[in-house]
Amino acid sequence: MTAPSDLTSARRPGRASGDERASRRTLRGRPLLYTRYVDELALFTTRTKRVWTIGFLVVMVVLPFALERDRVSLLATVAVFAIGGIGLNILTGFAGQVSLGHAFFLGLGAYTAAVLGGEARGDVIGLGLDMAIWLPLAGLVPALVGLVVAPLAARVRGLYLAILTLGLVFIGEHIFKEADSITGGAGVGRPPADPVLFGVDLFTNREILGVRVDRFTILYLTCLAILVVLAVAARNLARSRFGRAFAAVRDRDVAAEVMGVNLLRTKTLAFVVSSFYAGIAGALYSIIIGRITPENWNLFLSIDFLAVVFIGGLATISGSIMGAAFVVLLPEVVKWLSTYLPLVSDLSGGGGLFNVFQLQTILFGVLIVVFLVLEPRGLYGLWIRVRNYFKAWPFSY
């Protein structure tokens, strides 16, 4: 990923056509042979990658029509966790700043959206604005708060930072509980923003081109579209000048500073972008779960996102998406499996070794440990291993 001389051309506009040419110039069967820096920095380095990405996307668009309603809602959660995960990965994976405060920024985004896009009901305020207004602002307000916090966070390193951001979660939870008029107060909560985009309610069943589309499907497709936009944006950020600055700061901050990377500015940028993603994810998540209480945005949500990043793989966008799918779908798989397992009772009854919820959480913890110990590159690393096995097939050993 070093590209000193040809950087200028990599930044030139009209990159789409450049990609087209680049992929043709890559030799068939030699996907790692780059003859130009532009090729190495391309969005999709090989044609195979592009074809598979587009194919995967098509499957993800068609999939909800073949699934039941609660499964579709689960898919939407995956998309939202992927958005938040990508945000945390920019900060933790790319820029190397460990944050336990992600839940705070998600909450901030959710409440910004709820105040701007929700209805005023009872004691809570709500302006009932359009999604075109509240969605960007749900990202921008947390980003602004990130901008305020960043200079402080940039002063401390490593584990000091992790605990500093842990403090953010607790202080944030306290503020959320106290700001009754915004959040509805502790234990009570409030309804989230209404997803009405340009006057069209995205959360009602509709008939589009003669096909009956469930409201959960519409919501899921919206989340997916936002995910695609933000994922491509993150990928582009990662291969830009700033992305390389992030990597330099992560790998050795002193060396990066010596090379002329402005540490404060780079870390601040990472914080701001990460908070923006978290805010968007929080706003969408609040719509999916339906009613939000201040207790939603606690330390365990932060740990969930940390798991998305670490299980998915540090510093990869596709890894974050895989990690999100893993973290969201694992409990469902466990629930399904537990009917076949002895010693596991369902939630209602006692007895058994553990109930389903306990088993889900324990497995979650165990998997964090197992992945970090055995495959630090996460699911992405597993994928690379599988790919390399077949690359060398039949001589793989």
Partner: protein
Amino acid sequence: METFLVAVIQGVALGSVYALLGVGFVIIYRATEVINFAQPALMILGAYAASAFATRVGLPFWLAVLLAMLVLAVIGMLTERIALRPMVGRPSFSAATVTVGVFIVLLIVAFRLIGATILTVGDPWGLTRMEVLGVTVFALDIAKIVVSLTAIAAVGLFLTRSRVGLAMRATALDQETALAQGVDVGRMFGISWAIAAAMAALAGVLISSGATGVDATIALLALKALPVIILGGLDSIKGSVIAGLIIGVAESLTKAYQPQYAPWLGANFDLVVPYLIMIVVLMVRPYGLFGTKEVIRV
């Protein structure tokens, strides 16, 4: 004046338990450069073990506490051997994330063991009160101060006077050099975890004595030891004792006076005070009050 004195004594009591937890964090951090996020879960398990020994088996309280500390020391050692030893040489935040996973697992185990009932640890203090400095306080608060500070002093003596303690300090200073001098560094890691887990168990017993009872939600209380070690500096035992007392007293004073003088800060504001103090201090001193400033080279 009486409110003030009572608040201060309660604060010191709370602070010494924080210090006890904090010293556990510091010992592990010095040995392995890992913050052990599993400490709160170890604390609850310790409280549960003591409760089981004291109330179900029927052992005398102090024997039950000692046994619980022993059991937890073994659990701590095993955790280190299984989950943390393979992480040696990896970035410290990866290792810290491993302990987050361990935390989740142990916390659920504790939930499962404790169940819906609130257990007592069978402590001798209960709700008895006594006179100190002219004010009436709970005997439990005095017990917290005495027991915590005694335990910390014992660990301090162990580290400075014993042969193993010397080896542990050598490991903390420089692992390779310690290895070259014949110190079994891996064993020192295990011992550090054992000591920290035993201290967590003791802290758990102290927190859940009196009217509180063994309840898995006290895990969040143990997390407040994190601002304590940050305030004191991650690698300073002295720092964590002083910071523990500062934060304990500040929290207790806030609890006593804030509802009266600053009600607009909201209910339970005292619970966030430790984090606020930590953030303010980090702005001025990024390595806490007594932490060693990291010397880094390119």
